[in-house]
Symmetry: C2
């Protein structure tokens, strides 16, 4: 294979790509206008990632260079392709806070709401690992945990408050125009969209408007992606 190659989490349907971290990378590559070949990967396919020295996606292969972790990949793309449109337009520093907040606060709150939706789309070979690891985290079975959905949704709504506040003030998280701050959050929204989770934005609110603009970006890259229950084209 020539050109860039990206290993992405896939569901039982290999066309269903739902990792928020992999979507960050897809959007970063789109911003840089770098074509990429994507390779579906499942949690149990450890040997397929052995070349990268670790066990998680996204993994980007660019010639002889192998980069894992969505933040490290964005950083790499910005350094390696400085002549292409910038992902950060200035210091990446403050964007890293948003990235960490998404990883450490928003995603755990979302996982509590959508864990059964994820379980429904993953590859059968991933189910035992997924169930065991998430049940350990929740200290409950997935089903018992999910019975409390109303409480998990209320907690999620509280977590999302700063997002509504910012997008009421400016059209994009990055400011007047979209950049990597927006790709971080669009990755999250696309994750939930692909697995058939609940709407994350109040109807007609500023977050809903932002998400529609993100779905339209890059010729509908996010909108065209297969979602749960759709037959892949």
């Amino acid at each position: 294979m020539t050109g860039l190659v990206l290993y992405e989490l896939a569901g039982a349907d290999p066309a269903l790509r739902f990792s928020p971290y992999c979507w960050r990378t897809r959007l970063a590559l789109a911003k840089k206008a770098l074509p990429v070949t994507t390779v579906p990967w499942r949690y149990h396919e450890r040997e397929a990632l052995a070349f990268s020295g670790q066990e998680r996606v996204p993994v980007l292969v660019d010639g002889a260079t192998i980069v894992a972790d969505s933040w490290a990949i964005a950083d790499y793309l910005e350094q390696r392709y400085p002549e292409r449109p910038s992902l950060f337009r200035g210091e990446p520093g403050p964007v890293r806070f948003l990235n960490s907040w998404a990883d450490s606060t928003l995603h755990p709150a979302l996982l509590r709401v959508v864990v059964l939706d994820i379980f429904a789309v993953i590859d059968p070979g991933d189910r035992a690992y997924f169930r065991a690891s998430r049940e350990r985290r929740f200290a409950a079975t997935l089903e018992a945990h999910s019975a409390d959905r109303a409480a998990h949704l209320a907690a999620l709504k509280a977590v999302l408050t700063p997002l509504e506040a910012v997008l009421a003030q400016q059209p994009y998280l990055a400011g007047a125009d979209p950049a990597y701050a927006d790709y971080v959050l669009a990755g999250t929204f696309q994750w939930i969209r692909c697995i058939g989770g609940p709407p994350l934005a109040a109807p007609d609110g500023p977050v809903a408007g932002w998400w529609q603009r993100m779905l339209d970006s890059f010729d509908g890259l996010l909108r065209r992606a297969p979602v749960r229950g759709e037959r892949a084209a």
Copy 2:
């Protein structure tokens, strides 16, 4: 009075200045190397702010210009004094997320922990307003609410997670050097320091290191400020 004037929240001791929002502005003014005269203000002194058309501090007066709200003030200073050191070094957009997160997520979690500490330092004339408004928010008396301190501290620790994660990766929230993203959070930390609240950083962790560097910045502006129980110099 000539030069810049800043109306700041003060306690019963007029030297005790503990508003996180006012500290953001003090740090922004220090970064711009703009001298300022500060005026102590208490919640019940509405007529003293009537000239500004609203009821909250910080309020900055710069000649004929009156600006309220810490974010609007930072924005104003950046536009008005572009030849002085930049507060944002690029797009303010992503910093606004951190600002909104502090206001809408971190501060409410902190208030739950320190509400009695604030009550102890405010002006006697502010106590009735403060008690009534916060008891309405908590749907409990300040004392009944505060009996649950261990739970409030645990919730606060969870909220602070992304801060620890970012500062493990870079020395300042703004990146390699401090900027307004750091002043936002330093305002929060100074608030808690001034009212004698609990430590916000794990000892010897990256947040603790960052806070020591912020206390040292601008010739110890934050460190020199009077704290609860100290006699003002």
